[in-house]
C-alpha cells in the first residue's frame, strides 16, 4: 500500500473516533435512585428568575434608519435613530402585566422626566388622542419639555403610545430632541401599524419584566472570587446549586419561605433603572422612570464599598392590597462586576428577616 493512501484512512478513523462516541442514544442500568421533594415556596426551580405572567409574542417592521438594539431588562425592544444633521432619538418597547400601570401614570412618569410643571400635565382621558391601526386602538401621549433639559441643545419631546391588551399593556416610547421626534412621527405611526401581537402566549419571546436574569452558574473556580459574608442564624443553606454564588433560605410560619440569592454579572446589567424595574415587575409593581430612582434607591457605604439598597413591597395591582411578595436588594459594584444580594419571598417573613438581611449585607467584604 502506498504510504500516502494511509493518510485518508487515518483521518477517517480519527473523525470516527471523535464524532461517534458521545452523541448517541445510550442505555445503561444503575442502582436504584431516589429523588427529593420540592422545597421552594413559589414552585419555581432554584435559580429560576421569578415570573409575573405570560407574555405574548410581538413582531414589528423596523422603519428604515432605525437601528434595533438588544432587548434588555424591562425593555422588549429598543431602537437608536441616527439621522444626518439631526440629533439622536430613541424608541423603546415595554410590556407590563395588565393593570400594572394606568395611562395617566405613564403620562406623569414621562412628565417627570421632561420636568413639566404639574399644572401643564395632561389629565383626564380626554387629554389623550387615540390612534387606530386595524383592530388596535392606541392611546397617544405627546409631551415636550418647556425648556431644553440640562446638557441638551433642544427641547426634549416624547411621542408615546399605549396599547391595552387583555393580558398585557404595551408601551411604545419615542423620545429625543424635539425636531427629531417630529420628523420621525410618520415612521412611528408606520411602526405602530406594523405591530402584530401573537395572542398565543407560548409563542412569546419573553416577559420583559421577568427578563431572564440568568442566575450565575458556579464555574469550577467560582467560589474563589466571592466576597466574604456572615450568614445570619436560622438561614439554611440553599441546595448546592450551580446557579448562584450564594444560596440560602429561611422558613417562617405557615410554610412561608424567603429565598436569599447572591449573584454576580459582568458590567451593570443594563443599568440600575432596568434592574429596579425588573425587580418591581417581579413583585407586581409598575415601572418607574430614571428621574424617580432617587426616591427608591438608598445609598449606603458598607465596609468602604458603595451599596445601592432597594426595598420593594409588592402590590396586587387590581385591588391595591399588599401583594404577598417583597424583595430587598443590595447591589455592589466591584472590579467591573455587579453583585446582587437579594432576599425575596413572603412579605411578612421578609419583614421579620429584614434586620438579618441588613446584617448579612453589612458583613459583605470584597
Amino acid at each position: 500500500m502506498n504510504r500516502n493512501s494511509v493518510i485518508p484512512f487515518a483521518l477517517l478513523a480519527f473523525c470516527a473516533l471523535t464524532a461517534c462516541s458521545k452523541n448517541e442514544i445510550q442505555y445503561y442500568e444503575i442502582p436504584k435512585e431516589t429523588r427529593n421533594v420540592p422545597t421552594r415556596a413559589d414552585g419555581l426551580p432554584p435559580g429560576h428568575p421569578p415570573t409575573t405572567g405570560l407574555s405574548p409574542g410581538i413582531t414589528w417592521k423596523t422603519p428604515e434608519g432605525w437601528e434595533e438594539g438588544e432587548p434588555q431588562g424591562a425593555v422588549k425592544g429598543s431602537f437608536h435613530i441616527h439621522r444626518k444633521d439631526r440629533p439622536h432619538a430613541e424608541m423603546v418597547v415595554l410590556d407590563f402585566p395588565p393593570h400594572a400601570v394606568q395611562i395617566e401614570d405613564f403620562a406623569n412618569l414621562l412628565s417627570d422626566e421632561l420636568k413639566i410643571a404639574s399644572d401643564h400635565r395632561p389629565t383626564g382621558t380626554e387629554a389623550f388622542e387615540k390612534f387606530t391601526a386595524g383592530e388596535k386602538e392606541f392611546t397617544l401621549i405627546r409631551l415636550t419639555s418647556e425648556t431644553p433639559l440640562k446638557g441638551e441643545d433642544y427641547k426634549t419631546s416624547v411621542l408615546a403610545a399605549v396599547l391595552k391588551e387583555p393580558s398585557r399593556i404595551w408601551f411604545f416610547n419615542l423620545k429625543g430632541a424635539e425636531p427629531t421626534v417630529l420628523a420621525e412621527s410618520d415612521n412611528f405611526f408606520e411602526f405602530l401599524k406594523s405591530i402584530e401581537i401573537d395572542q398565543d402566549p407560548h409563542a412569546g419571546l419573553g416577559d420583559g419584566m421577568a427578563m431572564a436574569m440568568q442566575s450565575l452558574p458556579e464555574e469550577a473556580v467560582s467560589q474563589e472570587g466571592n466576597p466574604q459574608w456572615t450568614v445570619p442564624e436560622k438561614w439554611e443553606p440553599g441546595r448546592p446549586s450551580q446557579m448562584r454564588r450564594g444560596s440560602f433560605q429561611v422558613m417562617g410560619e405557615n410554610n412561608q419561605m424567603a429565598d436569599i440569592a447572591v449573584t454576580t454579572f459582568p458590567g451593570d446589567v443594563g443599568g440600575m433603572l432596568a434592574n429596579i424595574n425588573r425587580w418591581r415587575g417581579q413583585v407586581g409593581l409598575g415601572p418607574i422612570t430614571a428621574g424617580m430612582t432617587g426616591g427608591v434607591i438608598k445609598e449606603m457605604v458598607i465596609n468602604g464599598k458603595q451599596c445601592q439598597y432597594v426595598d420593594l413591597v409588592g402590590m396586587d395591582p387590581p385591588t391595591g392590597k399588599i401583594f404577598p411578595q417583597r424583595s430587598l436588594v443590595g447591589t455592589f459594584s466591584h472590579e467591573g462586576n455587579s453583585w446582587f444580594f437579594k432576599m425575596s419571598g413572603d412579605s411578612d417573613l421578609v419583614e421579620t428577616q429584614k434586620q438579618n438581611f441588613m446584617d448579612f449585607l453589612n458583613s459583605v467584604r470584597f
Binding site: Y27, I30, P31, K32, P38, H202, G206, P240, Q242
Partner: protein, 397 residues
C-alpha cells in the same frame, strides 16, 4: 516543477514561521479582547477552535455606534496550529543536517510539535464534568458542565433503574426516537436550547390559557417555556427545556414539559405504561462511575484571625466494589485524585462549607504536555550545555 519548488520553499520557509507566530499573537490579542463580550467559551469557539475568527469593533468602545461595522478577519487556531506543525516539521527536515551538535535542536523541535499536537488531542478528547458531594453523602455520577440529555428511566425494577439517554445535541437533526427498551416512541415537539419557565399566574385561578404540556409538572404548575438567546458568556449558562410527546401503539400518551430548570428539588415526572413505571427528565448529561466517592469532611482553612482562605480540601472515601478497593484520599489544591483515567480536582464548595465540588477531567493525552516540556528542557539543556562546554574549553586553551 518550478511551481512545486516555489510552494515547498514557502511552506518550509522560516519567514512563514515568524508570520505564523505573529498571527498567533494577533489571535491571542483579539481573542482576549472579545472574551470580555462573548466569554471564554465564546472566544474559544470563535477564535481558537475555528479556521478564521472575525473580530468586530465593539459597540461599547469609543465611536462604537459608527465603527461597529468594522470587522477584521483573524486566522484561527485550527489554521495556525496545523500550519505551524507542518512548517516547523518540514523546515526542520529542510535545514537540518544530522550532527550531534544539533541534537538539542531536534529535541526542542520535537517537543514543540508534540505540544501543538497534544493541544489538538486535548481539544478533541478532553471531557470536563463536575461531581457534587455533601458531607456525609456520596455520589457515583458526574455531570457535564454544558451538555444535557433527555432521559427516560424505567423505575419498575426494585433494585435497578434502566436509563435511556438521548443527548439533546441530537435534537437539531432528528426529533423522533425509538429504543428497543421502551414500549413507546419519543417525539420532541419543541426544543428550547436556552429558556426560562413562565408560570401562568396572572390569567386567573382556573387558567383558561392552555399549557403546551398536557401531562406532568408542566400542567400541574401551569408552566410555559420561553426561549432565550443562547449564551457563551462568562457566568451564564444555557438552561434547555423541551416539550416531549410519547406515542404508544394506541396513540399519544401525552406531552410532557421537561427542563433543566426542574432539577432535583422537584418531584419526578413519572407515569405508567405497559405495566411499568417510567420517569422522564431533561438534565445535565450524567456519566455513572463503577465506584462511589463519599465526602467524609470538607475543610476550609483560613489564616488565623482573618477570613482569608488558606486552603480548602476534601477528605473522600473511594469505594470500588469491582476491585474491593476502599481507601481514603485527601484532595486539595494542586493535589488531585487520579483514578481510572479520571482526575478529580478540588474546584468549589458551598458557602457553608458543607458540600464540595470536584472537577472531573478525562484527558487521554494528559501526559503528552509533560513529555513535550521534558523534551524541550532536555533540548535546551543539551544545546546550551554543549555550547557552554565548548566555550569553556576554548577559553582554557
Amino acid at each position: 516543477m518550478k511551481f512545486v519548488t516555489h510552494i515547498i520553499n514557502i511552506i518550509t520557509s522560516l519567514r512563514l514561521t515568524v508570520i505564523l507566530l505573529a498571527f498567533s499573537l494577533a489571535l491571542i490579542f483579539f481573542g482576549t479582547l472579545d472574551q470580555v463580550y462573548i466569554g471564554i467559551r465564546g472566544a474559544q469557539r470563535e477564535y481558537f477552535e475555528s479556521f478564521f475568527g472575525f473580530w468586530q469593533y465593539p459597540q461599547q468602545w469609543i465611536l462604537g455606534p459608527w465603527l461597529s461595522w468594522l470587522s477584521l478577519p483573524v486566522p484561527g487556531g485550527y489554521l495556525i496550529g496545523p500550519l505551524l506543525v507542518v512548517n516547523l516539521s518540514l523546515a526542520h527536515f529542510r535545514y537540518f543536517r544530522p550532527s550531534w551538535k544539533k541534537a538539542g535542536i531536534v529535541l526542542i523541535h520535537a517537543g514543540v510539535v508534540l505540544l501543538l499536537i497534544s493541544q489538538l488531542v486535548t481539544n478533541i478528547f478532553q471531557e470536563e464534568s463536575t461531581l457534587w458531594i455533601e458531607e456525609g453523602g456520596s455520589s457515583n455520577y458526574m455531570e457535564s458542565y454544558y451538555e444535557t440529555e433527555l432521559v427516560i428511566i424505567d423505575r419498575s425494577n426494585p433494585d435497578t433503574d434502566g436509563v435511556v439517554s438521548i443527548p439533546t445535541k441530537l435534537f437539531a437533526r432528528k426529533d423522533s426516537y425509538q429504543h428497543p427498551k421502551l414500549p413507546f416512541r419519543i417525539r420532541v415537539d419543541r426544543f428550547y436550547p436556552n429558556s426560562v419557565l413562565m408560570q401562568n399566574k396572572d390569567v386567573g385561578e382556573a387558567s383558561s390559557t392552555p399549557t403546551l404540556a398536557n401531562k406532568g409538572l408542566g400542567v400541574e404548575m401551569r408552566l410555559t417555556p420561553e426561549e432565550r438567546p443562547k449564551t457563551t458568556k462568562q457566568n451564564e449558562k444555557d438552561v434547555p427545556t423541551a416539550l416531549v410527546e410519547l406515542r404508544g401503539t394506541e396513540g399519544s400518551l401525552g406531552t410532557w414539559l421537561v427542563s433543566a430548570w426542574l432539577g432535583e428539588d422537584f418531584p419526578a415526572q413519572t407515569f405508567q405504561h405497559a405495566g411499568k413505571v417510567f420517569e422522564i427528565d431533561l438534565r445535565l448529561k450524567r456519566e455513572y462511575l463503577p465506584y462511589t466517592i463519599e465526602l467524609i469532611d470538607f475543610t476550609h482553612d483560613r489564616y488565623p484571625g482573618t477570613e482569608i482562605p488558606k486552603n480548602f480540601s476534601s477528605k473522600v472515601r473511594l469505594r470500588n466494589p469491582d476491585t474491593g478497593e476502599d481507601r481514603q484520599v485527601l484532595i486539595y489544591m494542586n493535589h488531585p485524585l487520579r483514578y481510572a483515567g479520571l482526575t478529580f480536582f478540588q474546584a468549589s464548595f458551598t458557602p457553608d462549607d458543607k458540600a464540595s465540588m470536584l472537577q472531573v477531567v478525562r484527558n487521554p493525552g494528559w501526559l503528552v504536555p509533560y513529555i513535550s516540556c521534558t523534551l524541550v528542557s532536555l533540548g535546551l539543556l543539551f544545546q546550551f550545555g554543549y555550547h557552554l562546554i565548548r566555550f569553556a574549553r576554548r577559553q582554557k586553551s
